[in-house]
């Protein structure tokens, strides 16, 4: 599994184990995310989907009591090596959290935050508008930039949180339950954004809606109790699961 193909995978883990206060949430997970693909991580609540996502851009270490063992590589670079700046990791591997948690500021300030933190000088309007265009929040009118982020609808807030991550032009995008708690129309918009983004970056998507995994992803991984039970082409995993836990989960029989 560790032997890389001609192009190194965008992201890979090797025997990754993450513990919170001694309790293992991920156990021995080894997975490769190929460059330019959309990969879904499915599994029951508490199976470690979010923790796996967060280990790809070193977010877990912000939680007191978190311990990471094993390796995580980004294009062959050890992300947890001492000389790696976690802020730089998070710029290259962007993340959209389950809760939009927008800053109580304007739409512009929300999108510009990451750029300013990076130290981008000068006029940020072009970059901000570009990111807003991708998520369909930019229609040429300047008034949206000054709108307060918290006044937007839930769907718009979610798309703004995606734009905020995209403004940094990440190589990979980690999406945690990108359509949770959205109505069908808003979900469809978010899904079409994800679909369009597949050409821009590698996407890892954690979702508890496996039909969404089916619609969006090239590959799907099934996590259960912190273990990677099955990983393969989405079509294959859905129609012909090799693991009986996967099958139970997909058919709704998993407790």
């Amino acid at each position: 599994m560790s032997a890389p193909g001609p192009a190194p995978p965008a992201l890979s883990t090797e025997r990754l184990t993450v513990r919170f206060d001694g309790k293992a949430v991920l156990r021995d997970v080894s997975i490769e995310i190929p460059l330019g693909r959309v990969v879904s991580i499915i599994g029951p609540a508490g199976s470690g989907k979010t923790t796996l996502l967060r280990s790809f851009n070193r977010m877990n270490e912000l939680i007191p009591g978190a311990k990471t063992a094993g390796k995580v590589h980004f294009r062959g670079v050890d992300l947890y090596a001492a000389e790696i700046d976690p802020a730089e990791v998070r710029r290259r591997i962007g993340m959209v959290f389950q809760e939009a948690t927008l800053f109580p500021k304007s739409v512009f300030d929300n999108v510009a935050f990451g750029l300013r933190a990076k130290g981008v000088e000068g006029d940020l309007h072009g970059l901000v508008e570009e990111a807003l265009t991708v998520v369909g929040l930019w229609s040429g009118g300047a008034e949206v930039l000054d709108a307060r982020a918290l006044d937007l609808t839930a769907g718009e807030q979610r798309r703004l949180s995606i734009a905020r991550a995209l403004a940094l032009k990440p190589d990979c995008l980690l999406l945690d339950e990108p359509t949770a708690a959205l109505d069908p129309a808003a979900s469809a918009k978010v899904e079409s954004i994800i679909h369009a983004l597949r050409h821009e970056c590698t996407i890892v998507l954690a979702t508890s809606d496996h039909t969404q995994a089916g619609r969006l992803s090239d590959l799907t991984a099934f996590l259960d109790s912190g273990r990677l039970m099955e990983y393969g082409a989405t079509q294959e995993l859905f129609t012909n699961p090799r693991n009986e836990r996967t099958e139970s989960y997909l058919t709704g029989r998993l407790p």
């Binding site: 912000l62 939680i63 802020a87 935050f113 940094l168």
Partner: protein, 287 residues
């Protein structure tokens, strides 16, 4: 947010619990109004502009709170200038930077305990440390340092609470966008916690301004003919002035004590106004 809270209060009046709450609020307000009223009645003969500027006098009718008011203003400014940066800085370090080691937890619990120590104990410590140890004598500066020692733990405890109230998701959102810890704290956490931090600092300062016991321990004077105009001048303040006047047996001095209490309440009200103005501005810009 305030609208919904207000609407919620309107609903809560209905029902027995709501009625009890309203009754309790009315009793509290009545007590406050009664207290202020009694003070104003007692002080009616001494309250005029002269009273706020003149020094105390042997003759009750000629006495004023000029030096004591100036002393309290000095103390407030000095304590605010030292205790707020020190306390907020400590709270930010403890809440945002310090790893949860045993040492840090010990420091936190020591500070929490210090915040509950009776103020008179700080007076003894201040007398030994600042008045005698550093040889500052019973000066405004010695008083300010003693009150700072009393205020800092309160500021730390209040501000730490304010910072803890900012949800972690907020920090993660900023970290996730490649912000450094300082950028997260400066640009997101501190602005989000600012209203509670200001309120917490004000509450701590109000306690310092109202404290009489530690200043009495230091040897505050209640009879000085000139207002202090440097931190090295003799220590005098409104609470100790009230105490000294109230202890005099002669008739007229009780009115002076009441008048000085009104002056102290006015000073505290002025500090509340600062807090209020800050809240309004906050609401205007972000909310």
């Amino acid at each position: 947010m305030s609208e919904s809270r207000r609407a919620g209060a309107g609903v809560a009046i209905r029902g027995p619990i709501g009625a009890m709450g309203v009754a309790a609020a009315l009793v509290t307000m009545a007590a406050l109004i009664l207290l202020t009223g009694v003070l104003l009645v007692e002080a009616r003969e001494v309250l005029d502009w002269r009273f706020f500027l003149d020094p105390p006098s042997r003759v009750a009718a000629e006495g004023g709170v000029g030096p004591a008011l100036a002393g309290s203003l000095w103390l407030t400014l000095l304590v605010a200038a030292i205790a707020v940066p020190l306390g907020v800085g400590t709270a930010v370090y403890l809440a945002e930077y310090a790893p949860p080691t045993r040492l840090v937890k010990a420091v936190e619990s020591v500070l929490t305990n210090l915040a509950g120590v009776p103020s008179v104990v700080y007076g003894i410590a201040g007398l030994a440390l600042f008045v005698r140890g550093l040889g500052l004598g019973p000066s405004i500066l010695a008083g300010a340092l003693t009150l700072t020692a009393l205020t800092v733990p309160l500021v730390v405890v209040n501000c730490r609470k304010a910072l803890r109230a900012v949800p972690d998701e907020f920090r993660w959102a900023a970290f996730g966008l490649g912000a450094s810890r300082w950028q997260v704290v400066r640009d997101q956490v501190l602005p989000a916690a600012a209203p509670d931090i200001v309120a917490g600092c004000c509450a701590a300062l109000l306690r310092a301004v109202g404290a009489a016991a530690p200043l009495l321990m230091l040897g505050a004077v209640s009879f000085t003919t000139f207002a202090p105009d440097s931190p090295n001048d003799p220590l005098t303040a409104l609470p100790t002035q009230i105490f000294a006047w109230a202890a005099r047996p002669q008739e007229g001095f009780l009115a002076l004590a009441a008048g000085a209490s009104v002056a102290l309440l006015l000073l505290m009200a002025a500090m509340h106004l600062v807090l209020f103005a800050h809240r309004r501005r906050q609401r205007g810009t972000s909310a």
